[in-house]
């Protein structure tokens, strides 16, 4: 086999493979979370890796600014799949993506376990149960096709309360975040990206798209205000 033939043979295999690789790399990642099992991690090891996170999310998991999410008391699995989505490119964020790329899978599990173990934020003031946000959260708006938020995020906003006796296929409950005590500006921003259809990298995002697309701007504000006022302590979603 001549050198030229060898080059041609290698090229004929490598070039299509590269083309496929480039094409695959260019494809947006999609996280199908429907079979995601709850994760476990080493919280202590995670604490050792959390120094960089503290710059925005606080050393105690309470964000330093309301535009950042509080992580304390959040579902560990939710935190893990978000870190993984940043790392894989399934979720877009200019700050989080480069940071997440430096983490190993075990790092992400440990960090998630660490923040989940921290006590959640206590709300500065009690949520107003007669507000528009409370109504949408608890009852939804059937006329607009908006389901109640409590179905997946729990009646108290502290995460879902699955029925252990149900024999029906179960959602990956642990991937649903707690909302109680979350910062209102951050919640509003996420509702807006769901409403606009720009956060679409995971199956849960598809669910939220269906919910948020029929929300008005006023309702999104009302919901963000309401959940931020829900008491955040003693989250059962760790």
């Amino acid at each position: 086999m001549t050198f030229t033939t060898r080059v041609a043979l290698v090229a004929s295999i490598a070039l299509p493979a590269m083309a496929i690789g480039v094409a695959l790399a260019a494809m947006p990642r999609f996280d199908d979370l429907r079979k995601q099992a709850p994760i476990r991690g080493d919280a202590a090891a995670g604490a050792g890796k959390a120094a960089l996170c503290a710059a925005c999310h606080g050393s105690d998991g309470i964000a330093v600014a309301p535009t950042f999410p509080n992580l304390a008391g959040q579902s560990a699995t939710y935190l893990y799949v978000q870190l993984r989505a940043f790392k894989d490119g399934a979720r877009d964020n200019a700050v989080m993506q480069p940071l997440a790329k430096t983490l190993t899978d075990q790092d992400m599990r440990n960090l998630a376990a660490h923040f989940a173990s921290l006590p959640g934020k206590s709300a500065p003031q009690k949520a107003h149960e007669a507000s528009r946000g409370a109504i949408v959260f608890h009852d939804g708006d059937a006329a607009k096709g908006v389901p109640p938020c409590q179905g997946c995020h729990g009646v108290d906003g502290r995460g879902p309360h699955p029925d252990p006796t149900s024999t029906a296929p179960q959602p990956a409950w642990s991937t649903f975040p707690r909302l109680a005590g979350q910062n209102a500006p951050y919640v509003l921003e996420q509702l807006q990206v769901y409403h606009d259809g720009t956060r679409v990298g995971a199956s849960n995002d598809k669910v939220m798209q269906g919910v948020a697309r029929n929300l008005s701007a006023a309702d999104m504000h009302a919901l963000a205000d309401y959940v931020s006022g829900l008491m955040g302590s003693d989250c059962p979603c760790k």
Binding site: R34, P148, D163, T167, A168
Partner: protein
């Protein structure tokens, strides 16, 4: 709280369905046409649209949910999240699919079973054209679907409407039905109302050899018909809970089918009579109309509905010629030359039914409903003359034994007692039902239904031209072979004053009342028990019994405690008895009831034996057992098993004595993901029917005791009794597999069908056999040869996607079968046997056919 959570989840799940544009069908009260659309290329209908969506059922959870009894729901079909705008800035969006390609057949493509309901043709075929457009802002939609294999096998459906407001549906469909592909009809004019003999055959003057020479040279033909159906419906939610609907469906059936042509018996009269397998035209139109109003309130529900059905037969009669000469059995010169035969085909008729229903919700989660209906069926077509012969019919023995008749007295409508049928049957119905659930564990229901069918038809067969009663039998052939058996009663003529023949139409009707009640009792969380009792009181008119009672009790038990499985057991017991049984209730409609009838010195020949019990009226004990097991295997598979057995015992020495049905079905369904599904099924059904009868003692018909109806008497001796056991066993099996590889999707299916039929018989003596078989009693045996029907069908297809919009389907369908039926034995050698002419050679004993197709798939 829990309820709220469930409700919330339900809404969320609904919001999280992956597809927003529905391809699936929905049902509604104003539907026209068929519920299921499909053809041989795509028997289940819409198959190209039915590939499961790889995204699954819901973004909330993986896998599929199960029905309450444990069966997995199928994955939803793939759909686009949103279609393309109809035009720039349009609120309307559309999506569509086109499958168009070429089909080529090979092998025994004319085999009857291969194309019985399939209009296969080589050439271009439209697999499916589907187009859906909707306006999400207004809820308006338009949808079109169509498929075309050939001009005789196609369907198109258009739906439009506005969700929650109105809907319109229109459809057009052609469905082929080949009765036989192996026919060699003798006559000219097939498909018309006039069958004439081809030259050189002479009506009433050809020998069997001459007829055979012509018949065996005739070309092979297909006998069949096409059903063309078209319909239109409209439904409108015009005011609050009120909905109005109207629909009209027109079905036209055109073609032909195998038919008969009697010229009196040939088996017992060699070189005489005639039994002809003719071909009759099919040219029917049936128009069904339905309209009504419906109010579905939370407490009251009301419905008023009118249905009408109008049947029109555009071919009123079938005239045919017989090539054979008739010869009288007494050896006198034949004065009659009867060769013209005529059938009166189905008359036009109208049906109207008006029904009102009122329901009210009651406390205890109950409901009371009351329904009433009145209907009428009428036909009033002009009646045809009794015969079409000309000249003289019958037999002239001597002036005192002149059994002739003048055709001119009978081949005119002036020979009829009335010019039109004036037939009418009215029906009435009342139905009341109540259901209550005093507790979540207990339910009770009761109902009372009354129905009457009142036949007002009163036709007297009387010829005003001759003053005679009755009807010329078998086109005049019978009376031209057997002296005196013309079919008429004449009180003024001693030759016919004792002739027993039917002279009036029998206005059969009945009144039926059914009471039923039952309870549903949830014994525990996983066990439900149900018992139902019903009492049916039937009062037939002019039948062997004036009163028939049937009591029925049904027990059901549903158990969900067998792991994750559901077991359902049903047992049913029914006992039927009634009033005294009259073996001959028809005497008032026969000539013996007319003034002037002279009872012969030996009495009238008994109508039938008094031991005969007709199966719809006789005493009967029935047992039914049915068991169903549905067992989930993990989250992705289900095993289903059904076993059943039914046993009916009739207290009948003569007639139907017993029937048995038993069988099982096993199936396994597996859908590990939206990309893969597989299923297998196996079934067996076994049925038998025991029947007994007694042959008349021909020697006794002219001797004392001929009026004795008793079994064991001179006319019906026990030695002439026979019994048959009709036994059929069917097997079926199937396997389906399909997988989505991404760019390539593969589907495979295999079906196997096998049916075995056998008739055994016993007889007490040669007297039980037909006269023609009595000399050959040693070779009669005790069973007919087995009949069997055997088909294997294999289909393999690949859908290859070249791009998101363009793809191709390649498929192959291979079918092989075998068939045996002793009814067709010997016809391969000659379609003419003595004075019997056969047209159909029957299905091919063995066949193999293959069909390949290459189709272009385009997403629109």
């Amino acid at each position: 709280m829990r309820k709220l959570l469930v409700t919330s989840l339900a809404i969320a799940i609904a919001a999280a369905f992956v597809g927003t544009r529905a391809w699936a069908d929905s049902s509604d009260s104003a539907r026209v046409g068929d519920i299921q659309y499909g053809n041989a290329l795509d028997p289940s209908g819409w198959a190209p649209l039915a590939w499961p969506d790889p995204r699954g059922f819901s973004w909330l959870h993986a896998g599929m949910m199960r029905t309450p009894s444990g069966v997995l729901y199928p994955y939803p079909p793939q759909s686009d999240d949103k279609g393309s705008p109809l035009y720039k800035d349009s609120d309307w969006v559309y999506s569509g699919f086109l499958q168009l390609g070429y089909i080529h057949q090979g092998g025994d493509t004319g085999a009857e079973f291969f194309r019985q309901y399939a209009g296969w043709e080589d050439g271009i075929a439209l697999g499916l054209f589907a187009l859906h457009a909707d306006n999400p802002k207004t809820g308006q939609y338009v949808e079109f679907r169509g498929s075309r294999l050939s001009g005789d096998d196609q369907y198109y459906r258009l739906r439009a409407g506005q969700y929650g407001s109105y809907k319109i549906e229109a459809f057009y469909r052609d469905i082929p039905h080949d009765v036989t592909t192996n026919a060699y009809p003798l006559w000219n004019g097939i498909g018309s109302t006039n069958l004439t003999l081809p030259a050189p055959l002479v009506p009433g003057g050809s020998t069997p050899a001459e007829v055979a020479a012509v018949a065996n040279a005739r070309p092979r033909q297909t006998i069949g018909l096409t059903r063309r159906r078209e319909g239109l419906s409209f439904e409108d939610n015009f005011y609050r809970d009120w909905t109005g609907y109207v629909s009209i469906v027109n079905e036209k059936r055109t073609g032909d089918r195998l038919w008969g042509g009697p010229m009196y018996l040939n088996y017992i009269l060699q070189d005489n009579g005639g039994a002809l397998e003719t071909v009759r035209p099919i040219d029917f139109t049936t128009t069904d109309v339905s309209m009504g109003l419906r109010d579905v309130g939370t407490v009251w529900q009301f419905q008023l509905n009118y249905t009408g059905s109008f049947f029109r037969n555009h071919k009123d009669e079938l005239d045919y010629q017989s090539p054979f000469a008739l010869t009288n059995v007494v050896g006198v010169p034949q004065v009659a030359n009867i060769y013209q035969g005529q059938f009166s085909l189905e008359p036009d008729n109208d049906y109207h039914n008006l029904r009102a229903e009122l329901s009210r919700s009651l406390k205890w989660n109950g409901q009371f409903s009351l329904a009433a209906a009145w209907g009428t069926m009428r036909q009033n077509d002009p009646l045809l003359p009794p015969v079409t012969c000309t000249g003289t019919g019958g037999i002239f023995i001597s002036p005192s034994a002149d059994y002739t008749f003048n055709c001119a007295d009978w081949n005119t409508s002036a020979a009829l007692s009335q010019q039109t049928a004036n037939a009418r049957i009215d029906t009435g119905m009342l139905d009341a039902k109540i259901t209550l659930h005093p507790s979540p564990k207990l339910g009770w229901h009761a109902g009372l239904r009354w129905y009457r069918e009142d036949n007002k038809t009163n036709y007297l067969a009387f010829n005003p031209l001759t003053g005679q009663y009755g009807y010329i039998a078998e086109n005049g052939s019978q009376g031209s072979i057997i002296p005196g058996q013309i079919g008429i009663f004449d009180p003024r003529n001693p030759l016919y004053a004792s002739y027993v023949t039917q002279v009036r139409a029998i206005p059969f009707g009945y009144t039926d009342a059914v009471f039923d009640t039952g309870i549903d009792w949830r014994v525990s969380e996983n066990n439900t028990f149900n018992v139902t009792y019903s009492f049916d009181r039937d009062q037939p008119k002019y039948r062997e019994r004036k009163l028939v009672n049937e009591q029925r009790i049904k027990l059901s038990w549903v158990d969900r405690a067998l792991g994750k499985g559901t077991l359902r057991l049903d047992y049913e017991f029914a006992y039927r008895n009634g009033g005294p049984y009259n073996y001959d209730p028809y005497a008032p409609f026969y000539s013996i009831a007319l003034p002037g009838f002279v009872t012969p010195p030996l009495g009238n020949v008994a109508f039938t034996t008094d031991a005969m019990r007709k199966y719809d009226l006789g005493n009967r004990i029935e047992h039914k057992l049915h068991a169903t097991l549905i067992y989930p295997i993990g989250d992705t598979a289900t095993i289903s098993a059904i076993a059943y057995a039914t046993r009916d015992d009739y207290s009948a020495a003569i007639g139907r004595q017993a029937t048995r049905n038993r069988g099982f079905d096993l199936s396994w369904d597996w859908q590990p993901s939206p990309l893969t599904s597989m299923s297998a099924n196996l079934g067996c059904a076994d049925s038998s029917l025991d029947f007994s009868n007694v042959a008349d003692n021909e020697d006794a018909t002219g001797a004392p005791g001929r009026d004795d109806p008793s079994l064991g008497g001179p006319l019906f001796p026990l030695a002439n009794q026979w019994q048959s056991l009709d036994h059929e066993r069917d097997y079926n099996a199937g396997l389906t597999l399909r997988h989505d590889f991404g760019r390539v999707r593969a589907d495979f299916s295999y079906t196997y069908t096998y049916a075995l039929g056998r008739i055994d018989y016993l007889f007490a003596s040669p007297g039980a056999l037909p006269i023609t078989q009595q000399p050959f009693v040693d070779g009669v045996g005790n069973a007919f040869p087995d009949n069997h029907y055997h088909i294997n069908t294999l289909q393999l297809g690949f859908d290859i996607a070249f791009s998101r919009m363009i793809g191709m389907r390649v498929f192959d369908l291979f079918e092989t079968g075998s068939f045996a039926d002793w009814h067709y034995a010997g016809l391969q050698d000659n379609l003419v046997i003595d004075h019997r002419i056969y047209t159909d050679l029957g299905p091919q004993p063995h066949y193999s056919a293959n069909l390949i197709g290459v189709m272009l798939n385009v997403k629109l």
